[in-house]
């Protein structure tokens, strides 16, 4: 538990922090510790230093007064000495009282501060010496006298008095307070300044790291063309150099890879273009085949219409003439046979003529040219519906069919024809819905064909595709359309065809 808390605190306090934060902490913590130590020392040492200050001050004062008292005590000029001492007491607020005694202990000068000071700062004493000059006074009779540079006398001293200095503790305490306040003020200035400087230094140290990290992010983002200005030495300079080397290597590898990809892409595009070209050629081929088939159908239809139907009409006309001639002749057995034969020929030729017309209509739906796709489909459905056992057909057509013509109209007609034929032949349907829709809204320009029946349907996985479905797919493919077959056993069949309605396709 404690370990986990410690780890969490560690992670919170250090692990997840930025480098600039860590650097700042590294710089600031010793500073704060130093400031704390200084503060503790300051507070603890204050009384001792106050006593020390008092002692030093008192000793210095006593020594100074003693040194200055020599003249006064020797010459008897005590007023001058008192003036000096009084000025000292006035100027120095530490002094409570100064007394000067002669060698016999008689008080000669005593000056006490006129301010309300306390005498609790301690007493300090010093002896007053008279320093005899090392000058021959020519009064000795134990050695030769010289007025020149010869000098054999040593300086001697004699105690001629004492000085007693009594200090007041108030000034020492006030000084300590001022000292503490000044130190605290100094700390208050120095610590924030140092923190600020540490932060600046941290940022300065963090700057190359930040540059390195940004560069690595760019590299990670795929920008390998990173080149850093290396103006730092040491490890940071080495790191930035390494990043430059790495980015250069990666950039070169990227260029090589891109070259390979581009080459491969070019190959694929070439292959794709070839495939597209083949596909277009295939479509053109299918269209051409379909067109040839239609042309051939048209030619056959024309041949049937012009030759066979004319011959059949001629044969029927001749048979009618035979019949008319037999009718005008006396009834005989022979005439009866002739009449029967003529009537049989008329019947056969009529049936052949009807069949030929159907064949011609199927081969060459000229109704498409006359009625357009919508009318041709309607006429086709009426034809199928007229057959015995045929389902009921419903046609729904919408859109502008004026833009559906030519090969596209023929293909659409044939596709509906094939679907309806399959329904009639296999679906055993009762209702068939045929929808022809021209969609022309913006980019959605297409001819939609749908044939939906309620027949038996089939399993597309089990039923092999017939020639008719394959032909439908080829027709749809030739016009870059789509064909969708939805069916299932007992679920009817839904054929959905979408043919793009583009100028090129229309042509």
């Amino acid at each position: 538990m404690i370990s986990a808390i410690r780890k969490r605190v560690w992670a919170w306090s250090w692990k997840d922090r930025s480098i600039s934060w860590r650097l700042s902490v590294i710089a600031i913590i010793p500073l704060m510790l130093m400031a704390l130590g200084e503060l503790v020392y300051l507070l603890n040492s204050s009384p001792y230093e106050a006593r020390q200050d008092l002692r030093e001050h008192g000793e210095i004062l006593a020594a100074a007064v003693a040194e200055n008292s020599e003249y006064g005590l020797t010459s008897g000029n005590l007023k001058d000495l008192e003036r000096v001492v009084r000025s000292l007491v006035v100027v120095d607020k530490w002094i409570y009282k100064i007394e000067v005694f002669d060698a016999n202990g008689i008080l000669k000068v005593a000056v006490r501060s006129k301010e309300a000071r306390q005498s609790n700062g301690g007493e300090f004493g010093a002896r007053v010496y008279r320093h005899a000059l090392p000058v021959d006074d020519f009064g000795r009779d134990d050695a030769p006298h010289f007025a020149g540079d010869q000098q054999e006398r040593a300086e001697t001293t004699e105690i001629i008095g004492t000085v007693r200095v009594v200090l007041s503790q108030q000034q020492a305490e006030a000084k300590q307070k001022r000292r503490i306040l000044s130190q605290l003020f100094l700390l208050a200035v120095v610590v924030p300044t140092s923190v600020w400087v540490a932060t600046l230094l941290g940022k300065a140290l963090h700057r190359p790291m930040d540059i390195a990290i940004r560069a690595l992010r760019d590299i990670r983002g795929g920008d390998y063309a990173v080149q850093l200005d290396v103006d730092d030495g040491g490890e940071m300079g080495e790191l930035l150099d390494a990043i430059n080397d790495m980015s250069g290597s990666l950039n070169e590898a990227k260029r090589n890879l891109e070259g390979k990809v581009q080459a491969r892409t070019r190959d694929l595009e070439a292959s794709r273009n070839q495939a597209l070209k083949a596909d277009a050629e295939k479509r053109r081929l299918i269209q051409k085949v379909d067109s040839a088939v239609e042309d051939e159908r048209k030619s056959i239809a024309i041949e049937i219409h012009d030759e066979l139907n004319a011959a059949l009409l001629g044969a029927r006309y001749s048979s009618r003439r035979i019949l008319d001639m037999v009718a005008a002749s006396p009834p005989t057995a022979e005439n009866a046979v002739i009449r029967e034969s003529a009537e049989s020929i008329i019947k056969v030729t009529s049936e052949l003529y009807t069949s030929a017309r159907k064949i011609v209509r199927r081969l060459r739906p000229e109704v498409l040219d006359m009625l357009g796709l919508e009318g041709a489909v309607e006429e086709m459905l009426q034809t199928y519906e007229a057959a015995p056992g045929a389902p009921a057909f419903t046609l729904k057509s919408t859109g502008d069919f004026g833009q559906v013509e030519g090969a596209l109209a023929i293909a659409a007609y044939r596709l509906i024809q094939e679907c309806v034929s399959n329904v009639v032949k296999h679906a055993k349907a009762a209702q068939v819905m045929v929808m022809v829709q021209v969609r022309d809204q913006g980019d959605d320009r297409a001819l939609r064909l749908a044939v939906v029946d309620d027949g038996v349907g089939f399993d597309p996985d089990k039923v092999q595709e017939g020639i008719g479905l394959i032909g439908m797919k080829e027709r749809v493919y030739a016009f870059a359309g789509t064909l969708e077959l939805k069916t299932g056993p007992g679920a009817g069949t839904h054929v959905e065809i979408l043919l793009p309605l583009t100028p090129s396709d229309a042509n």
Partner: protein, 313 residues
């Protein structure tokens, strides 16, 4: 110090002094002799009496041996050459020579006037004829130096004690010669030097005549401080006192005293008359430039170079 005490001290120092004198004699004999006058070279009955072997005494003896090669350097107590002229170096030697009654004259050198007169006064009537070249500077020369320092006659105060009272007439004469207003203050028993100095505080200059009753090493600092505070210039009486804070003084080195002594001996040999005690004739000047600046005195080279050297006219 009583005579009995002196005798006692001398008996203790005798062996030390004899060894010192011997060393001085050996050193002097080794020195290269300088050219001498005919009278000096021929004089054989000259005794240099010394009582100590200090560096200064050895220097004095060395110079005297150079000047009087035939002279005998002797311990003062054993220098009894009945008809010889005796040169007593210092007060101890002088007292010893004066106590040993001889027929030759005695010349005292390197003894101050006050001590010389004290010894002479206590020597008794049977003492030998004596004269002296005092150790301290000539008051007349000092007064001339005062006039040179101030470049005008200034009121000059002199404090004379009982031992130096005899100098007053000569001081007055010297003052008159230099046209210096002289204030002579007498120092008697119970007087305070500070009191006298306060009375003479209007005198710009104080001529300090060495008198141990007036000026001594114990009160010289106070005297210097008092005169400094009064703005007074102290002239006197040794180079050591100038270094301690006096303004200036004339003084004589050993060679200059000895040169004067040599002239005195020659004069005596020439006319047989012993001259009166006299102050040093040859001297030089030392000035404390710091004190001069403090007193706002502009010292010129005339004062700095104020001197009288042997052979100078």
């Amino acid at each position: 110090m009583s005579p009995s005490t002196i005798v006692h001290l001398e008996s203790r120092r005798r062996w030390v002094a004899r060894a010192g004198v011997l060393l001085v004699a050996i050193g002097a004999a080794a020195a290269h002799p300088a050219p001498l006058s005919a009278a000096t070279r021929e004089r054989r009955d000259l005794v240099i009496a010394v009582a100590d072997s200090g560096d200064s005494t050895r220097k004095v003896v060395s110079d005297l041996r150079r000047r009087f090669p035939r002279a005998v350097v002797s311990d003062a107590k054993t220098a009894a050459v009945r008809k010889a002229m005796v040169i007593a170096v210092g007060p101890v030697a002088l007292r010893a020579v004066m106590a040993d009654v001889g027929e030759g004259p005695v010349v005292s050198v390197f003894t101050s006037s006050q001590v010389y007169h004290s010894i002479i006064d206590t020597a008794g009537e049977r003492r030998p004829a004596a004269t002296a070249i005092y150790a301290e500077p000539s008051p007349a020369a000092q007064l001339r130096l005062v006039s040179m320092l101030f470049k005008r006659p200034v009121r000059t105060a002199v404090v004379l004690g009982g031992r130096t009272a005899f100098l007053e007439p000569s001081l007055q004469r010297a003052a008159a010669a230099t046209k210096m207003p002289l204030v002579v203050e007498s120092y008697g028993a119970g007087d305070s030097i500070n009191g006298i100095l306060s009375r003479t505080s209007d005198a710009p200059a104080i001529l300090a005549i060495p008198d141990s009753l007036v000026y001594n090493s114990e009160n010289l600092r106070t005297v210097l401080l008092t005169t400094y505070r009064n703005g007074q210039a102290v002239v006197g009486f040794s180079a050591a006192l100038v270094r301690a804070g006096a303004l200036a003084t004339t003084y004589s080195e050993v060679e200059e005293i000895n040169a004067q002594l040599e002239e005195l001996v020659n004069e005596y040999d020439g006319n047989g008359r012993l001259p009166e005690p006299q102050f040093p004739k040859y001297f030089r000047t030392v000035i404390n430039e710091d004190v001069a600046r403090s007193l706002n005195l502009v010292v010129d080279d005339i004062a700095r170079n104020f001197a009288y050297r042997p052979g100078q006219r």
